[in-house]
Symmetry: C2
Subunit: 258 residues, 2 copies
DNA sequence: CGCATGTTTGAGTTCGTTCAATTAGCGTGG
DNA sequence: CCACGCTAATTGAACGAACTCAAACATGCG
């Protein structure tokens, strides 16, 4: 019932590396502009960033806990997630990152990665050398401010996830996550808050919400049974946004939109 | 059996406001120096920051979710925690912050606070206007780097808490937290990793770990019964650090010390 | 001494887990 | 076009970690 290989890049085959994808810079600009006003010079500087594009297969770790990256990865196309392993082999997913996000921005100032980044689907990443990004941060205050906000909003999302993991029921967690992903994707221009593509398996969903796969399945079914959500394969349709929002106690303030 | 009012500030009575506590700046310097090398000029600039010191009673919220602070609060003495409320009146504590930390550093770039800050004990805070701090960030790259790291390490701690909340048993969560607090306090120069003051009630502990008060109590008793920890009132003594670390699957890498 | 806050204990309940199949969807090769 | 094999989704049943409720016990303080 699920097809994760929705042919984002050909048949999922990485087509090697490309260089100087000038146009890809606009993705970054659009995102940062939502967080802080940018000057023309800022935009120009962003466009001149050296970006090395690279394609990755689905279900692959692209960096691992403990790595010391020398560049930051911007998700150009696809969907990634960050996760941490625990002793018995289980894992906790700590974020989902659609195209437009920079899941290892922190590596700019912290050498050692404390999580892994994996792909949900075939994904194209754009890698920007730390050096180049650091130079921008020092010469362009608005870009520094935007990146700072990026980090800080992300921390806010972590806190909200902590609330879900610690104090919400499994049902509420699923509802809350679906609202969050909807808003995130809508902001990034991928679908609307109530109709979008979210290519996770129920097992990935469970690992993000701190529940078992079996239980994730039952909760999703419950959401379907009550006609709040249609979720087939990777396409999510929220039939009753208000009901979902209430079910998950979802208050978007923590996303700091605007 | 618990005495939270351990006379941090007289009998817990705020002694009003003080201004220009020049010496308090050194606390901030010591902390930032651990995160990034500082120049003499940087130190001087930090010492010249206008700091308004203010005392707060125990068990008081000093800022609330939704507030829009115009200054950042440095914990000078005492202990605070950040928390978020959920609909039914329960809450999730998302961090504990001993003296030396700046629990609302993010407000520098995000106007609206998405959590509340409360005191565990009588606490003295030092407030630094955003304006002054922003000026420093723009004029002194090393200070900017240190603050950036501060934020990013904090996000790393959030992720580790998510792992605890999502994938560790109650027993592991308590063990993990005790290790973390021990290291944090030792780094900050308050006691050692295996002998320190942690002035939380079991109810606060429970709210941080996403469990019920009753269960928190039972787990703490278990830790005592096995002679791993002595925890009387607010003073924690870890008799067997190695055992505690193993019990909580504690790997300090996520604290990014060094 | 008595109140207030915090800790401890017991007992019944529940939400979510684990284990173990079964079913469904889809790509591949014949 | 169909059988095979893979992955993911679904189901049932027994179990268990943690919860709730309710009461008792400590301890510090005025």
């Amino acid at each position: 019932m699920v097809e994760k290989d929705n042919g984002v890049i050909g048949a999922g085959a990485p087509s090697g590396e490309e260089r100087g994808l000038h146009s890809e810079g606009t993705l970054l600009i659009r995102r940062l502009e939502r967080l802080a006003p940018l000057h023309d010079d800022d935009r120009r500087a962003l466009l001149e960033l050296p970006i090395r594009a690279k394609a990755h297969y689905a279900d692959q770790d692209i960096v691992r806990e403990g790595d010391r990256p020398t560049e930051c990865g911007l998700v150009l196309k696809g969907f990634v997630f960050r996760h941490k392993l625990v002793a018995d082999g289980r894992r906790q997913i700590v974020s989902f990152n659609p195209a437009g996000e920079i899941p290892d921005l922190q590596s700019l100032y912290l050498p050692r990665l404390d999580y892994s980044i994996g792909t949900l689907v075939p994904t194209r990443m754009g890698y920007v050398p730390h050096q180049a990004l650091r130079a921008l941060v020092q010469s362009r205050p608005s870009i520094a401010a935007a990146l700072w906000r990026e980090i800080v909003v992300e921390a806010s999302i972590f806190r909200e996830w902590m609330v879900s993991l610690g104090r919400r029921s499994a049902y509420q967690r699923v509802a809350h996550l679906l609202c969050e992903i909807g808003l995130k994707l809508e902001m990034a221009g991928h679908g609307t808050r109530s109709e979008y593509e979210f290519p996770v398996t129920q097992s990935e969903l469970a690992d993000a919400l701190g529940i078992s796969t079996v239980h994730a399945n039952r909760v999703v079914q419950e959401l379907r049974r009550t006609n709040i959500v249609v979720w087939r394969g990777s396409s999510v349709t929220i039939l009753d946004w208000r009901a979902l929002q209430e079910a998950g106690e979802f208050d978007p303030a923590y996303l700091h939109i605007q």
